[in-house]
């Protein structure tokens, strides 16, 4: 850790690859709107793990759509409003949309007035042009912001036959009240790039000097576009992994990033976690017993932080929180190669904790026993390596 952070690329059309299917899905709906053909679903929500290219996709869609006539495009990045009061944030958004649609200033002084005037103005605009809303960072946003955004903007516009809403987000799906945003929405999960050829195409456009290592990079990244880019910036695999991890954490503010990384590393060997497991893992990670005395509230703060930055989510199948899968794999791989003693300590701590649980909780003994076996296998697999 401690290397200089690689600057992440900003979108430009000549660097964008793949995603033809997703682009065509949106374009097909847009063309229908322009022609005035009825559309039953007018909301598309793109989801996917960290680094799968959601924001780039929205940026690309914005560029493609703005080249068309008969359509107005409004792009909105909710990450800008992460620290704003939700009411002020929505007021700002309404003003911006008013300006973008040339509805002029003076929408009103209350959100209700602004919303009403804006929607009325947009309804007049829709007689000539269709409207596309591109909204990024949705699931990562505060629910109070989303509730206000639905009430004053997205909800009223979702009903309009010539409005298409395209959203992107990672983490906690928001329970929209408006059926057009939930029941009648199309959900598209962005997958990593499927093969080495696509990774190579990306490197050709973004990191040409690493093109020869496309297969090695794809094997490490699983085809994740962000990971591909970051791995390509370094020749040394260990340094590359460290850079990739730091890059994956780019969305976390500087002053919190170190702590969040520690939490993620400490939990990276687990298949799932919760507040009960956090103290034991932090103890093993830091080699410090003080974490064993942690309260539930302290452990909960760790969990909340990871969920807040969308690096962890509740998984019903696992019956616990799971880390963003690529981030988890990269972190564990990094620990295995760069800090093997620490990695082994974490595996041993997990095995010990689950053994105790298998003894203490007869009703769930089998579940915890399976976890013990998993961690024992992990330790053996490393021990067996030459």
């Amino acid at each position: 850790m401690g290397q200089e952070l690689v600057e992440l690329l900003k979108y430009s059309s000549d660097r964008f690859i793949n995603r033809q299917r997703e682009v065509e899905r949106v374009l097909a709906k847009v063309h229908a709107l322009i022609q005035g053909s009825p559309l039953d679903t007018r909301t598309i929500i793109f989801t996917g793990g960290r680094g799968t290219g959601k924001s780039w996709l929205l940026a690309h869609l914005g560029a493609e759509l703005r080249a068309l006539s008969g359509i107005v495009v409004f792009g909105l990045d909710l990450s800008k409003y992460a620290d704003w009061d939700p009411i002020l944030a929505v007021a700002d958004i309404l003003k911006q949309l008013g300006a973008e649609t040339k509805l002029g200033k003076g929408l009103g002084t209350t959100l209700a007035d602004m919303s009403r005037n804006l929607v009325q103005g947009i309804q007049r605009l829709l007689a000539q042009d269709a409207l596309v809303l591109l909204v990024d960072y949705v699931y990562e946003s505060d629910w109070k912001l989303l509730a206000a955004l639905e009430e004053y903007l997205l909800g009223p516009l979702a009903v309009e036959a010539r409005v298409l809403t395209v959203m992107a987000g990672r983490g906690r799906p928001y329970p929209w009240k408006r059926p057009e945003l939930r029941l009648k929405a199309e959900f598209v999960d962005l997958e990593p790039f499927p093969d080495v050829a696509t990774t190579a195409e990306q490197l050709e456009r973004q990191q040409k000097q690493a093109l020869a290592r496309a297969a090695e990079i794809h094997a490490l990244s699983g085809g994740n576009p962000l990971a591909n880019f970051l791995l390509a910036t370094q020749d040394d695999p260990a340094a590359a992994l460290d850079q990739v991890v730091e890059g994956m954490l780019d969305t976390v503010p500087d002053e919190r990033r170190g702590r969040v990384r520690d939490y993620l590393e400490a939990l990276s060997v687990l298949r799932s976690f919760d507040e009960e497991r956090i103290p034991a893992m932090l103890t093993a990670y830091h080699g410090d017993d003080k974490y064993l005395g942690w309260s539930y509230a302290q452990a909960r703060e760790v969990r909340e932080e990871l969920v807040r930055w969308a690096f962890a989510r509740w998984d019903a199948e696992e019956g616990g929180y799971v880390l963003d899968e690529l981030t988890r794999k990269l972190l564990e791989r990094y620990l295995e190669t760069a800090q093997p003693d620490r990695w082994a300590r974490l595996q041993q701590a997990a095995s010990k904790l689950y053994s105790e649980w298998a003894q203490d909780y007869p009703r769930t003994r089998e579940r915890w026993h399976q976890e013990v076996q998993y961690h024992v296998r992990q330790l053996r697999s490393v021990a067996a390596m030459p």
Binding site: V159, P173, P179, L183, R363, T364
Partner: protein, 412 residues
């Protein structure tokens, strides 16, 4: 289908004992509110966020007539409320106008209403909804011309339960909408009610609107209301949300009586659809066969869904509420339970009568058991679940299931 047992109804008057410690504990766990508190769907403003049964709602939501059948306590009212809440987003009229219609058996004194009786009751229900909506959105009235305002005045004068002037006086005295809600519908709450000055202005405008003609027959009153909603105010459509069919002594256990009650109304369903007025019935399961047999042509052109509660669906009731209450942080009681528990929702779902209200009652009991035992800290323990199930079993009336068919299904 199974026989329908009486639902468990624990005595609750006011906040239950231990309310504050429970709330403190839920906060400690990371829940922003008590998701198992409101048992009455009509008074739950968050229902739309955590209602399960998207298949049935998908059948309901849209510009078409639809029917949802469910057993007593099986979610009919919850779905009706959800449909109504889904209409009220935003400040404008670019959405359906929902009219909750619960047949007023008490005021009729019988359960075989004529068409006129239905239409009079519908016009009244519609006028109440319109009056409250206009009170919350006075700009809809302000932008009407004199002729249109006269139509509004006429519809309200003809159909409201009491004199319009009386309601307006109460608003003027209190300077807010609470008297209207309290008198007409306490569950009708929209965001952004008008400020005092706007409300007083609205009262003045409505008062000053010239009175209309003498009160016409029910059919004309109903048609005027629909014309006002669709053509003058610009709502996209009207949804008549029919519920409470099993509320009368005559209908409560008599499926044929339910069908008789709706007879005159069913004949209008098709015609109304052509006028953008769509009937959406939330009806007892016992009424399904008699209605489908007797009004086959109507059902051939409408959407139907039947809600049956499986343990999986009941478990989802709990999970959705936990998810919303935690603002998406977690979606299961397992997240706040000891490692000795797994899939708590399914354990509870299998322990109750197959109705959502029952699983909510039991879940609430689990929380209360914990607070009683351990106060406002700690995670749900096995003892809490065991004690709650024991309590529930001791209070549940015996039931005999006629059929084991418990698959949730939607029908074309």
């Amino acid at each position: 289908m199974s026989a329908t047992p009486p639902a468990l109804t624990p005595e609750i008057s006011g906040p239950p004992a231990g309310f504050e410690p429970l709330r403190a504990w839920l906060e400690w766990l990371g829940l922003r509110f008590d998701p198992f508190g409101p048992l009455d769907a009509a008074s739950d403003p968050r229902l739309g966020e955590y209602l399960v049964g998207h298949g049935a709602f998908a059948r309901t939501w849209g510009d078409w007539a639809s029917w949802v059948f469910a057993p007593p306590g099986g979610g009919k009212t919850a779905l009706r409320v959800r449909t109504s809440q889904a209409c009220w987003v935003g400040q404008e009229t670019n959405h359906p106008f929902p009219i909750p219609y619960i047949p007023p058996f008490l005021s009729w004194g019988h359960a075989s209403p004529s068409l006129d009786e239905h239409l009079a009751a519908l016009a009244r229900a519609g006028a109440v909804a319109l009056f409250l909506a206009l009170a919350h959105r006075p700009h809809w009235l302000f932008r009407l011309d004199d002729e249109a305002r006269r139509s509004v005045r006429a519809v309200l004068d003809w159909n409201l339960p009491g004199p319009l002037g009386g309601y307006l006086d109460r608003c003027r005295r209190s300077k807010n909408l609470e008297p209207l809600r309290a008198t007409l519908d306490p569950t009708f709450v929209l965001p952004d009610p008008p400020d005092e000055a706007t409300l007083l202005r609205w009262c003045g405008v409505l008062d000053a609107a010239p009175a209309g003609e003498p009160r016409p027959a029910p059919a004309a009153r109903w048609n005027s209301l629909c014309g006002l909603l669709l053509d003058t105010l610009g709502f996209r459509s009207v949804y008549v949300l029919l519920d409470g069919l099993d509320a009368a002594p005559e209908t409560i256990a008599d499926a044929q009586a339910m069908a008789d009650c709706l007879g005159s109304l069913m004949e209008l369903v098709g015609d109304w659809a052509g006028q953008r007025v769509f009937v959406k019935g939330f009806l007892p399961i016992e009424a399904q066969s008699p209605l489908e047999e007797r009004f086959a042509p109507v059902f051939a052109n409408t959407h139907t869904a039947t809600i049956c509660w499986t343990p999986a669906l009941l478990a989802e009731v709990i999970r959705r509420r936990v998810y919303v209450a935690s603002e998406g942080a977690f979606g299961s009681l397992d997240a706040i339970a000891s490692p000795g528990l797994r899939d708590v929702e399914t354990i509870l779902a299998k322990a109750v009568l197959p109705l959502p209200r029952e699983v909510l009652v039991l879940t609430r009991r689990v929380l209360e058991e914990h607070v009683g035992r351990q106060g406002s800290q700690g995670r749900i323990q096995e003892e809490d679940v065991d004690a709650a199930i024991q309590w529930y079993s001791a209070h549940t009336p015996p039931i005999i299931l006629e059929s084991g068919n418990l698959e949730a299904r939607s029908q074309a």
